[in-house]
Amino acid sequence: MQKFWNDPVTWGHAGLYLLGAIAVLAVVIVFVTYAIYFERKVIGWMQYRRGPNRTGPLGLLQTVADVAKLLMKEDTIPAKADKALFILAPVLAFVPSFLVLAIIPYGLNLQFADLNVGFLYYVALSGITTIAIVLGGWSSNNKYALLGGMRSAAQMISYEVPLVMSVVGIAMMTESLNLREIVIYQEGWFWHWNFLPQIVGFAVFVVAAISELNRTPFDLPEAESELVAGYHVEYSGFRFAFFMLTEYIYVYAIACLATILFLGGWNAPAPQLDFIPGLVWFALKFACIVFFLFWIRATLPRLRIDQLMGLAWKVLLPLAILNIFLTAVGIEWWGKGGG
């Protein structure tokens, strides 16, 4: 990163950055389009339905049509809403979600910013989205939206704690928070990946991550059956689309993070399989996690709000702390890798 700061800024550099950003945006938008399609298909199959199958071949253009509809919809702002914040909230939600993608290493040399506090960067920026959700809920001047915003703030702050704590074990084993070094540390056979030595941490991470994503069974901020649609009741058209886009970009980011932190990133499961490029392995693991998230959504019922808070503070946090303790003991007794 340092080398770019000291160079004089030319149109070439600026253009290079712009191109990089546009490329990531394109990848992400294609991902989001087909993640939504895939999610509806998977849930449909699990519920013995067909899912979307009319628009385009096999329904592949369904999401495109949906998004086109959203973009052409009338843009409504409630008369008594706080206009400035109502407009600002979707932007404030989207920008950090896109920024967190900068640090994700897809391969050994395929990364935008090699930051030595990679994981912390993700957690810090995702906190800004929480503000946006609360603001969106508050500025709508609607009690359901406000309730949704409040719940969201409480939930996301509570689950950030176990999410961070569950990764401390990995940081202890790797002696780094740098995502690239964490992946390099997991080289070798698949039992060198962090998910086996850090099985408790992995479990805590997955639960906390689903909750951070506000997805079922933790989708209380937008519980349809109680709160109509939660914090985005009043949003429609492209502002609503931005909230949705944010949500799915976080799915992308969390799936990437889980791949990197616990499933060995771009490493092949066995050294003999190294001839297959790392990007393929990364994509495979990534797809598995995304499928897992959809599977969970189709399977589990929603938690109650009091159970939700209890789960974060009384179950996940002690487990995460226990994991840190066990990791420390393991490193002390058996050295690295055995912990």
Binding site: I36, W138, A229, M244, D306
Partner: protein, 199 residues
């Protein structure tokens, strides 16, 4: 394209300029806004810009902890608190000319002092290279040379935390102890089978 000006237009210069302007704008807006929620948001804007300045100084750890704590936690708590309270009678404060004049004079004096102090201060160039992985260096220092202050701060925070809980849980005198607690009832959520989330 920028060669005819004296300043070197590196990426660092642009980033510093942008972040500094953002920090100042956020701070000024925080004072000028009439609504408290708007103030909190512009304050968050300032915090983020400051974090950006820390990144420019190669203090990534401090920068992201700043975002995590000040933007992620403090600002949300402020907004949370503001939402719980009434906000109808805002922005109707009458002007007090004498007080405002005095405040303006005080501000100018403070600016003068700060300006003089900064201009006359000498900034020694740090000797020796910064460690490459400064996050690790911070961690090592915290747990070796500064272990005792670090532990003391954590004890202090725990005390403050328990104190806050104790204050919030204080029972009203002479009342029925059980009934004072608000009934935190939540109806069990019905199963969500529908496909409501997808647009």
């Amino acid at each position: 394209m920028f060669n005819n000006v004296n300043i070197e237009f590196t990426g660092e210069f642009f980033a510093f300029f942008l972040l500094a302007v953002c920090a100042i704008v956020g701070a000024v807006l925080a004072i000028n806004f009439a609504k408290v929620v708007h103030m909190a948001v512009s304050l968050a804007f300032t915090f983020v810009s400051l974090a950006g300045l820390y990144v420019l100084l190669q203090a990534e750890f401090v920068a992201f902890v700043q975002v995590l704590l000040y933007v992620g936690a403090v600002t949300i708590l402020m907004i949370f608190g503001i939402m719980m309270t009434k906000h109808q009678s805002e922005g109707s404060e009458t002007g007090r000319p004498l007080l405002e004049t005095l405040a303006a004079i005080g501000c100018l004096c403070l600016f003068g002092i700060l300006f003089y102090a900064i201009r006359s201060a000498s900034f020694p160039v740090p000797t020796g290279e910064l460690p490459a992985d400064n996050t690790m260096a911070i961690g090592k220092l915290l747990y070796s040379s500064y272990a005792i202050p670090f532990e003391l701060v954590s004890v202090l925070l725990t005390v403050a935390f328990i104190g806050a809980v104790a204050l919030a849980k204080r029972e009203p005198e002479g009342g029925n102890g059980e009934g004072a607690e608000p009934a935190a009832e939540n109806k069990p959520a019905p199963l969500s089978g529908e496909e409501g989330k997808t647009p």
